[in-house]
């Protein structure tokens, strides 16, 4: 029998979990469902939908802290923060269009549970670095809390870190406290055209090592740049390397000028302001270049930044892949036309030999069943992780198998 549970308060969440635990009913956990296609497919007939747990509970701009229920949409949180000139600094991406659902529905809880961060991650850290405290229900139907509502806290284990990126497999969040930061007064994106990939990566590495405090660094090879809706980028007819600087006006202008000066020795330079800069980085964050090419299998690859072009070249020499770089090379979005065992192994092996990790973000459900979606864990780590899962969810009722088979 299929059942859909859609609790509206914490007590109901707890009751539902108690029922599921006593009946041994594993359940699929979701917020707005925008990332249901991410992870190993579960095929469970019970669904726990937390989208009714909504609302900002507490927001004190001068404390840089916001507490909301997990089903609150990022859009609502963004609007609330915008009024005070603040934001979620980790720049959460909206992967819904890539994964085939409507945009702008993602929830705070889902974003935290998947630890999704955008381009600014290189400067300010990931979602997990901004996740300060929580209330949650574990697989024993017990309510517990961890962390706190202040920005600096080391009282007890940092269980928030475990929940961030757990894909709903450990506990059900009922309240989330995040750190928020002031929005930058001014933003500029400097574009440098025509760099070949190795030099682009080493240029971005130089910028990261400079005093210019960049807040986003990407490189789009020509084929990807051509798909941008920002005309300066798509009309250039060549690769685009982009660096964003943000901050108080005089500082931003100054750093932008410096970067332009440095870059002008390397190629043609342009500048994006305001809306166009925002659009460009949204495309980078949301993997827009691959959204409409539904036939492509999409990978998210984390590597040591200077290895980036080496990894893509290795993959590209053996299959017809396309890709672009974020996080100064630390993040590669890569798409392959095939999703067979050979090409999947090719991607994984090339990434692993450079010491990185690959996640299969978009692929047919049958592929995500036979190929590990997340980087396989060494045996000792797998065992330890399985024990950690057990410590929250002894009966395995929350999203079993979503991260790893058998866990």
């Amino acid at each position: 029998m299929e059942s859909l549970l859609r609790p509206t308060d914490d007590t109901q969440v707890r009751e539902a979990v108690a029922w599921a635990a006593s009946e041994n009913k594993p359940m699929a956990v979701l917020g707005a469902g925008s990332k249901t296609a991410l992870g190993r497919p579960a095929n469970l007939d019970t669904t726990m939908d937390l989208c009714k747990l909504t609302g900002v509970l507490d927001y004190e701009p001068s404390e840089l802290v916001l507490t909301a229920r997990p089903g609150t949409s990022l859009a609502e949180i963004d609007a609330c923060l915008r009024e005070q000139n603040q934001e979620l600094a980790f720049e959460p991406p909206d992967l819904a269009p890539l994964l085939g659902t409507a945009p702008n529905i993602a929830t705070l809880g889902g974003t935290i549970a998947c630890n999704l961060s955008g381009p600014r991650r290189v400067r300010v850290g990931a979602a997990r670095d901004h996740f300060l405290g929580m209330r949650a229900i574990n697989g024993r139907a017990e309510a517990f809390k961890a962390g706190g509502k202040v920005v600096k806290n080391v009282t007890g284990y940092d269980l928030c870190k475990l929940i961030a990126g757990s894909y709903g497999t450990l506990a059900l969040l009922t309240e989330v406290t995040v750190k928020v930061l002031p929005r930058a007064e001014k933003t500029r994106t400097v574009l440098l055209f025509g760099l070949e990939e190795n030099s682009a990566i080493s240029t971005l590495s130089d910028v990261m090592a400079s005093v210019h405090e960049p807040t986003a660094l990407a490189h789009l090879p020509a084929n990807i740049a051509a798909r941008s809706s920002v005309d300066l980028v798509s009309n250039a007819g060549c690769a685009a390397t982009a660096v964003r600087v943000e901050g108080p006006t005089p500082s931003t202008i100054f750093r932008c000028e410096k970067l332009r000066g440095d870059f002008s020795k390397l190629g043609e330079v342009e500048e994006l302001h305001g809306q166009r800069s925002a659009t460009f980085w949204k495309e980078v964050a949301n993997v827009t270049p691959f959204v409409t090419r539904r036939e492509l299998t999409v990978w998210r690859i984390a590597v040591a930044p200077i290895e980036a072009a080496i990894v893509t070249a290795a993959i590209g020499s053996k299959c017809n892949a396309e890709w672009y770089y974020d996080w100064a090379g630390g993040l590669i979005w890569l798409a392959t036309p095939q999703s067979d065992v050979t090409s999947n192994n090719l991607v994984r092996d090339s990434v692993a030999s450079a010491g990185g990790q690959a996640t299969l973000i978009r692929a047919e459900a049958n592929v995500r069943t036979v190929t590990s979606v997340f980087e396989p864990l060494p045996a000792a780590l797998y065992k330890l992780s399985a024990r950690v899962k057990q410590s929250f969810d002894p009966k395995g009722i929350f999203n079993p198998g979503r991260l790893y088979a058998g866990m």
Binding site: V122, V154, T155, G156, Y157, V211, Q357
Partner: protein
């Protein structure tokens, strides 16, 4: 402070353990001589001391693994120890425990400027990392005041902060990978030079786990380019309230200084006497606000902060004109602890965090408590992130002063929790705040944390007696209570 019961059976194995350790460790790396053990009897929280049963000083990961395997098979408790500068008694030995000292893990293994990482052994000091990379213009951002002595492993175990963590984050935000040994001797590696790893974020969990989950042997940290410039402002206020308001106003204006420290009158005077930093002595509260980044930004923000400070009623404002002056402004603050040490035989450093907006109220109540316990207090704090360090002055040689100081401290921490804050911002729970955990967490909260501990250490051999007020057996914690042999929820909930 009640510590786990001493196991006489283990004590009886002492000499056989020493023999087994000496099979793969040199003579001087296995310490069981009373006088030599005394060096390890306490950490930075000197009110507590206990001689360890044995101290071992391994220098390879394989040796650590062997030690832990032996301890597991013999049921011997293990206490990891870095430099012993911890302020919450995290490295306090156990009478029937082996202290694993990691000071010999002092090599820098890899510096990778292209990827901006440094990989070092666990015993490398915090400052040594910065020193190893500063010639190329880099540094390691978290800067605890103990940085000349404390180890990176200790920093990870405590998730230590520093005066610049307002802008650059604490340890957990600045590490990318580590190697550690589990209690059964299994060696695991987490993370690496890349920014994200699949599976549960065990790296994030280990940061701040106070030596209860594994022995860290190697750490990969992120290094950052030194900001182009930095300037500091010294701002004096005639009331603490005005200073507290200024802190809130600066943040509300969207300015995140790289550091924002506050001192009260007692701390200002002690620091000035000790270090000649040039602090104004006729003020009740002093703020040090540091801005860093491109010069254009620093000058611009400095002016804004000055304006805000003036509007909050600042009576004294000085901006550093050069690097020497900036460092001088900091010299007083950085020496605040030893400075207090000079005006009082003993002091007890507290570490709660509160919402910044409650600063004035909390300080007023700390003053009341100071009257109640008849002990002086000097306040220094990381005002930018609401992390208080009230220093309670006492004399351990006077009857009941230590006890009074501890009660006073506990009241301050309870107050922090009461106003929406937490027990510890950076020094950790250790033994010191262990029995106060109940003021912040209920039994279910603590049980969940202890179940995570069980996932790493089923027998509870790693650093027991720290962090958790009550020790539960893992089997007991693992039981599911919702059954009672029946199905209590036969109905499918409908909502």
């Amino acid at each position: 402070m009640k510590m786990p019961e001493t196991d006489e059976g283990v004590i009886a194995k002492r000499s056989s353990l020493v023999g087994r350790f000496r099979k793969f460790l040199s003579e001087e790396s296995v310490i069981n001589d009373h006088d030599e053990l005394k060096v390890y009897e306490t950490d930075g929280l000197t009110a507590y001391h206990q001689l360890p049963m044995i101290v071992v000083l391994p220098d390879t990961t394989a040796q650590v693994a062997k030690i832990l395997k032996i301890c597991t098979s013999e049921g011997v408790k293990v206490v990891p120890r870095g430099a012993g500068t911890g302020l919450s008694g995290g490295a306090l030995p156990l009478a029937d425990g082996v202290t694993v000292g990691l000071a010999k893990f002092n090599r820098i293994l890899d510096i990778d400027y292209g990827n901006r990482t440094a990989t070092v052994q666990t015993g490398v000091t915090n400052l040594a990392i910065t020193q190893a990379v500063e010639a190329k213009g880099f540094y390691y951002a978290p800067d605890p005041s103990s940085q000349i002595a404390c180890t990176i492993g200790g920093n990870v175990a405590e998730n230590s902060g520093g005066v610049h963590c307002l802008k650059y984050g604490v340890t957990t935000n600045n590490i990318l990978g580590l190697e550690m040994v589990l209690i059964d001797g299994e060696i695991i590696r987490l993370g690496g030079k890349h920014m994200e790893s699949a599976g549960y974020d065990l790296l994030g969990l280990i940061a701040g786990s106070e030596g209860l989950l594994g022995v860290i042997t190697e750490v990969t940290v992120r290094i950052l380019p030194r900001p182009a410039s930095a300037r500091a402002l010294l701002v004096g206020f005639s009331t603490v309230e005005a200073g507290g308001k200024c802190v809130v106003e600066i943040i509300s204006a969207g300015v995140i200084p790289s550091g924002m420290e506050m001192m009260d009158k007692a701390a200002i005077h002690a620091a000035e006497d000790y270090s000649d930093a040039g602090y104004p002595l006729d003020v009740e509260a002093l703020l040090i606000v540091e801005l860093d980044g491109p010069k254009a930004e620093v000058d611009h923000l400095l002016q804004r902060v000055e304006e805000i400070a003036t509007s909050c009623g600042a009576v004294n404002i000085r901006a550093s004109k050069n690097e020497g002056e900036r460092l001088k402004f900091w010299a007083g603050r950085k020496a605040a602890f030893p400075a207090i040490g000079r005006i009082s035989p003993d002091y007890y450093c507290m570490d709660g965090t509160i919402p910044r907006g409650r600063l004035t109220e909390v300080l007023a109540r700390v003053t009341d408590l100071s009257d109640k316990y008849n002990l002086r207090v000097a306040n220094v704090f990381h005002a930018g992130d609401g992390n208080l360090h009230p220093l309670i002055l006492y004399d351990a040689n006077k009857p009941d002063e230590l006890e009074r100081a501890e009660k006073f401290g506990a009241d301050i921490l309870k107050l922090c929790v009461e106003v929406g804050g937490v027990l510890t911002g950076e020094h950790g729970v250790g033994v010191e705040k262990r029995d106060l955990m109940g003021t912040m967490f209920n039994e279910q909260d603590l049980n969940q944390q202890q179940r995570v501990k069980c996932a790493f250490d089923t027998e509870g051999l790693l650093n027991p007696g720290k962090v958790f007020p009550t020790l539960h057996r893992c089997a007991e914690l693992g039981r599911m209570h919702i059954h009672h042999g029946r199905v209590p929820f036969p109905e499918l909930p409908r909502f």
